[in-house]
Every structure is written in C-alpha cells, then in structure tokens.
Symmetry: C2
Subunit: 209 residues, 2 copies
C-alpha cells in the first residue's frame, strides 16, 4: 500500500477538503508555479502557516489533487463496455466526457496544465495505468470493427479524438466563448457541441444524398 492509513480527525478531513477545493481553483487557473501558497490559503480562508499545518509542502497539495483527479477522470472510459450497441456505447461515452468538461472544467484544466508541462509528476501513471486501460478499450473497439458494427479505423486515435474534442470545451473555454460571441456562447453551447459531436462521430461530413 502507498497510503499507510494516515489517521485523521474529522476536523482534519474537513480542513484538508477545504484546502483542496481552494487549491483546485487556484492551480487550475494559474498553473503550479504560477500559484502561491498565500493565494490558496486566502481562498481557503486561513493563514499560510495554518495551511502548511495540513499540507507540509505546496507539492503535497498538488499531488493529492492529481491522484484524486485521475480516478474520476478516467471513470467514463472505464465504463465503456462490450455489452450493448457499439454506436450507442460510443455516443454515451462522448456525452459523458462532454458533461465532465461542462461540470468539472477546473479538473480538466489542471490535467491539461500538467500534460502541457511534460507531465513531470504523472508520467509513470500515463505509461502504466492509463496505457493499460486504453489498450484494453482499444481491443474492445477493435472487436466491434471485426464484427462489422462500426467502420474500421484506428481505435487509439479514435479515443484521442474524443478526448480532444470534448476537453476542448473546458480547456479552451475562453476561446470558444470569445468566438461564439455573446449570443451563441451562452449556456447553450454545450448542447450545440453535443449535437455536433454526435453527428461528426457517427455520420461524418459526407452529405446524406
């Protein structure tokens, strides 16, 4: 076990949670080096030494945040299942990922920041756990292709393209809103995106006729 059962009182649990919430906000908008302990402490409503009583180092906060993130972040892909209609299965995977971009944009940006900087803190996880999971799901998709249920193509790049298109609405949100303008850039943009992505992945761009 990596975690040697760190006994914590109820108040410690709560304060740690408060700090993590504040840190998510700060880290996701300023990056790791761009964020200061003072900023996080203020966002959490406590003094810097007090924060350092719960997390000894700035990096400990980031690490805890990252570990927790990765669990929930890959949940949608884990759910991708061999049972059920392949196209339906893919459609709901895309929808789930898009909902995560809408509901947890900070988590998405935190992850994007880490990858952009070369993933110095989570590289082993990418090459291990993540690669294993993706390979496994790629095999499932390959099965669907062999069964003639979906078109033959590269399953890995298919997964990449789903990640890219959905996370784009969290990571590049400011750009999306700026380009769409005040009218179309409102809350409806996620429904528009869902409609578009469904059509793109299922039908492509060829005209029906």
């Amino acid at each position: 076990m990596d975690t040697p059962a760190p006994r914590r009182t109820r108040i410690q649990q709560e304060k740690r949670e408060l700090i993590l919430e504040a840190a998510l906000e700060v880290f996701s908008t300023n990056g790791f080096r761009g964020s200061t302990i003072d900023q996080i402490a203020e966002a959490a409503g406590m003094s810097k030494p007090n924060l350092l009583y719960y997390f000894r180092r700035k990096e400990d906060i980031h690490e805890t945040l990252m570990q927790r993130l990765l669990d929930t972040w890959l949940a949608p892909l884990r759910e991708l299942d061999d049972i059920g209609d392949p196209l339906t299965e893919l459609r709901s995977y895309i929808r789930r990922k898009l909902e995560m971009a809408r509901d947890f944009p900070r988590e998405s940006r935190l992850f994007a920041n880490e990858i952009l900087q070369g993933a110095p803190r989570i590289m082993p996880m990418l090459e291990g756990e993540l690669k294993t999971l993706v390979d496994e799901k790629a095999a499932v998709i390959k099965g669907w292709m062999r069964a003639g249920k979906i078109a033959h193509t590269d399953p890995w790049h298919l997964i990449f393209s789903i990640w890219a298109t959905t996370q784009h609405y969290a990571d590049f949100d400011v750009q999306v809103r700026a380009v769409l303008g005040p009218n179309r850039g409102g809350d409806g943009r996620f429904e528009d995106a869902a409609r578009f992505l469904e059509q793109l992945f299922i039908d492509g761009l060829k005209p029906k006729t």
Copy 2:
C-alpha cells in the same frame, strides 16, 4: 502604425531573434510565470542583464512572441477558400493544421498555455480578429452546406473540432506518446493521425455496408 519603425542594427536583430527562439522553448514548456529570465538568458547563451538590454521587460519578450505567433497560427484557416471542392478543401485544411502541430509544437503549447490561463494578454484579439475570421469562414462552410456539398451541421463547432483534434497532437504529445508506447508512438504517429482524422471527418464511424 503600432510599430514606429524601431531602428535596429543587424546585431540587434540577430540577438533578439536568438532570445525569442530561446524564450519560445522556455515559455512553451514552463508557462509565463513558470519561466525565469535567467532560464531564457542561459538558453540563449547570454547573461541576464545582457538579455534585458534587448528586451526591457520579461513581458515584452512574451508579447513579441505572441504577436508573431498569431500571424502564422491562423494562416491555414485564412487559406480555406471558396474555390475548389469543399471536402477536398476541408481535408487539406485538416492536413495543414496537423502539419503545424507536428512542425511547430512549441508554438501550439505557447498558445495553449495562454488560453488555459484565461487568455489575459490576447483576449481582445480573440473577440476581434479571430472571431471575425471564424465567422467569415463559417459563412463559407454554410454556403457549402446550402449547396448540398457537405452535410448540414454547425460550422463553428466543426472548426473547433478540427482545432481540438489536430492541436491535441502537439499540446498532449507526451500523453499520446505514452499511450501509444514505444512501437506506435514513433514518428509514424502523425501519419496514423492524418489517416484517422481524414476518415473521421469525411466518413464518420458508420460502417460502409
């Protein structure tokens, strides 16, 4: 004019270019706040005060880099033209964007960093120049749809999805390589990506039969 003809000697031109090249490397991997003048100076092979002789403030380097970037970054979209077959036109736009992700990954990451942090320095450009250009090209695409040349869908989100999928191979490069592994993550990954994206955007995932 914004640039009041800043008279520069040949040696100044060269040194400034050297600094910008070094700064691109450093900024794109560490972000603006995560980069130090010392890092850039060392990468450029000169002392910090010497660097500050050519660019008075750290932000001036970043600004110059960003201005230069935006010109070349939108060139492929500018080339998207009403002449020629729509599907062919879109295919070559996708190919050009993917080639830029392959050949200029640092520029892509620099841009991604800026957007991730809320685009504090280029927001006016996004709402102005960029929005105008995208709206213009969206109109072109809408024309193709009305003419029955490509399927009806949302042109803006179509453009977003092309940006997202292609830039993914620059911004998330470490993740792509980690997941593909040593075999498939080599130089061939861009050809694989090109093949996949072409199929995705042109044909979708529905089986042929």
